[in-house]
């Protein structure tokens, strides 16, 4: 980073720190990148277990599980959380605040309400289902408005934002440590005619069942094909869905470490992302691209833009298993195209390498800081607190 001035940056993560998730990973990587470049960073996040936190994370309390966007979100709000947020802001003396997903009921929203000064908000979600929450527009509007700059992680999430909150955003993609994946070593055990899949395969929206439905057709044309599924989950239920003759072709590898993941993605012949929706960026797909895996993905908006309308990977019609089978067979048989896609995908992954992404985010911080002082508590938040206190006494 060319900048010489070191900043004090406060980042708020709305979801439970110890639960797995894209937003948490993004916040962790960003915080660690900024710290490695000499800035001082404090992350405020809900935490179920406060003993295993990295040094830069401050716990805001235990998260509550609420159903949200087709999954269970672990978030936190309420008066106690609010007072912790305010305390964190007033003690932090930050130059800039970076709030993630500030439009859902969470500590990000509370922080946006409580603070005044240079604030940047990143919107991750891209889904139609949030209408109920976005219907709170009139209440959210003056709060979201306080953000000096809004960032959307993809064109899809930018559209969600303009549709629901009538406000525009700059698109800066999620970050990937591209180099880690570029340096993955191909392993014999995962090579050959292999199809890779990573994710919590029990969740329907990850689309493993679409891939499994495509398998019988693929197996007819590619006799040695194997499907390798990595990720946490219960395998028994999945095995029941599969034809007994095909069971030997599927291996479940469980959750992989980061190094194993890089090796895995570098080894497989084809990486398939059959997600049926609810994806705003596609971080694992981006990692697969960085590792140089030829990828096939469903044509949901996030993947279409990630794969440049098909220039950096093959797209199939979402939830259409026969189309997927066709695309897999085509790619498995065509060494030349696989080679070409692999190179194109790796080239593309430079756009969302942390070196590029963090640079862009940092430049946004600098722009947000122009003309306003450091972050403090908002005056109306102070009087709001007093008002609440007075009401409590009556």
């Amino acid at each position: 980073m060319p900048s010489t001035k070191k900043l004090k940056i406060g980042i708020v993560c709305p979801y439970g720190w110890d639960a797995p998730g894209g937003v948490q990973n993004h916040v962790r990587d960003l915080a660690e990148y900024l710290i490695a470049h000499g800035h001082s960073v404090s992350v405020l996040a809900p935490c179920a277990n406060e003993e295993i936190l990295p040094e830069y994370v401050v716990s805001a309390g235990k998260p509550i599980a609420i159903p949200y966007n087709g999954a269970v979100a672990r978030v936190l709000f309420g008066p106690i959380a609010f007072s912790r947020v305010r305390q964190w802001i007033s003690q932090g003396e930050f130059d800039v605040l970076h709030l993630h997903e500030p439009a859902i009921p969470s500590i990000s929203l509370l922080a946006c309400w409580a603070a005044d000064g240079p604030m940047v908000g990143t919107f991750h979600a891209a889904a139609k289902r949030q209408k109920a929450i976005f219907a709170l527009g009139p209440i959210l509007e003056p709060v979201i408005e306080k953000l000096s700059v809004r960032i959307a992680v993809s064109e899809a999430s930018r559209l969600t934002l303009t549709e629901h909150l009538d406000t525009d955003a700059i698109v800066i993609p999620n970050g990937v440590y591209a180099e880690r994946f570029r340096n993955g070593r191909a392993q014999q055990k995962w090579s050959g005619e292999t199809i890779g899949f990573i994710g919590r395969f029990e969740e329907p929206r990850k689309g493993l069942s679409v891939l499994l439905e495509a398998l019988p057709i693929v197996a007819r044309f590619a006799p040695n094909v194997r499907v390798l599924v990595a990720g946490p989950g219960d395998t028994d239920e999945i095995y029941k869905q599969i034809h007994p003759q095909l069971r030997s072709r599927i291996s479940f590898l469980g959750r992989l470490t980061e190094e194993d993941k890089a090796d895995f993605l570098s080894s497989v012949s084809v990486y398939v992302a059959p997600n049926t929706g609810g994806e705003s960026f596609g971080i694992i797909l981006a990692e697969a691209m960085a590792a140089g895996a030829p990828v096939i993905a469903s044509d949901i908006p996030a993947f279409v833009s990630l794969l440049g309308e098909g220039r950096y990977g093959s797209l199939f019609a979402t939830e259409d298993s026969s189309d997927l089978a066709k695309k897999i067979i085509e790619l498995l048989r065509d060494d030349e195209t696989r080679q070409r896609l692999s190179i194109a995908a790796q080239e593309r992954s430079k756009f969302f390498d942390w070196d590029t992404v963090a640079e862009q985010i940092f430049s946004v911080y600098e722009m947000a800081m122009v003309g306003s002082g450091s972050v403090g508590l908002a005056s109306d938040s102070r009087s709001w607190g007093r008002l609440l206190g007075r009401e409590g006494e009556n």
């Binding site: 408005e145 000096s148 525009d168 700059i170 600098e366 722009m367 122009v370 003309g371």
Partner: protein, 167 residues
């Protein structure tokens, strides 16, 4: 007794809401000003780089003339014409940039690098400013701001037609 309490609370809330709205608008006006000052500064720097490029050896006489002219227009433009003038400068720079990336010496390369960093900032600067202006105009349309004259004597911010492909 009870109605008195409720009445009191309503009055208190209304007062708080008024002060909240006034703070909100004040914050927006402040952002319009600072974001414009920032953007203006960035654009001025861009024009200066353009002039430097125009006077460098890399530029042939024709593009040098074009660039100088565009840069002067951008610097001298009134607020209303600013957007057009900046678009013109962007176009001229774009033409030259294509030629210079293929050939050109290290001094020019450094200028170009600075320019591309600046371009990124200008892009963000425009987004921030346009957003601030639109927000402010939107908010000032609401009845509470009109009736209580919460905008005071602050002039309505000018909309700049920065085109999306300005750079």
């Amino acid at each position: 007794m009870k109605t008195g309490l409720i009445f009191g609370l309503v009055v208190l809330f209304s007062l708080w809401y008024l002060s909240f709205s006034a703070t909100r608008l004040d914050r927006l006006h402040h952002r319009v000003e600072t974001s414009w000052a920032n953007l203006d500064g960035l654009l001025q720097r861009r024009a200066a780089i353009a002039l430097e490029l125009a006077h460098s050896r890399a530029a042939d006489p024709a593009s040098s003339l074009l660039l100088t002219h565009a840069a002067y227009l951008a610097r001298e433009a009134q607020i209303e014409d600013r957007s057009d003038a900046e678009s013109g400068l962007s176009g001229a720079l774009g033409l030259l940039q294509n030629d210079l990336t293929t050939q050109g010496e290290s001094a020019e390369k450094a200028l170009l690098r600075e320019l591309s960093q600046l371009t990124e900032k200008v892009r963000v600067g425009i987004a921030i400013h346009v957003d601030a202006v639109n927000r402010t105009r939107e908010v000032r349309k609401k009845w509470i701001f009109k009736i209580f004259k919460l905008a005071g004597s602050a002039p309505l911010p000018v909309v700049y037609e920065f085109e999306h492909d300005v750079l």
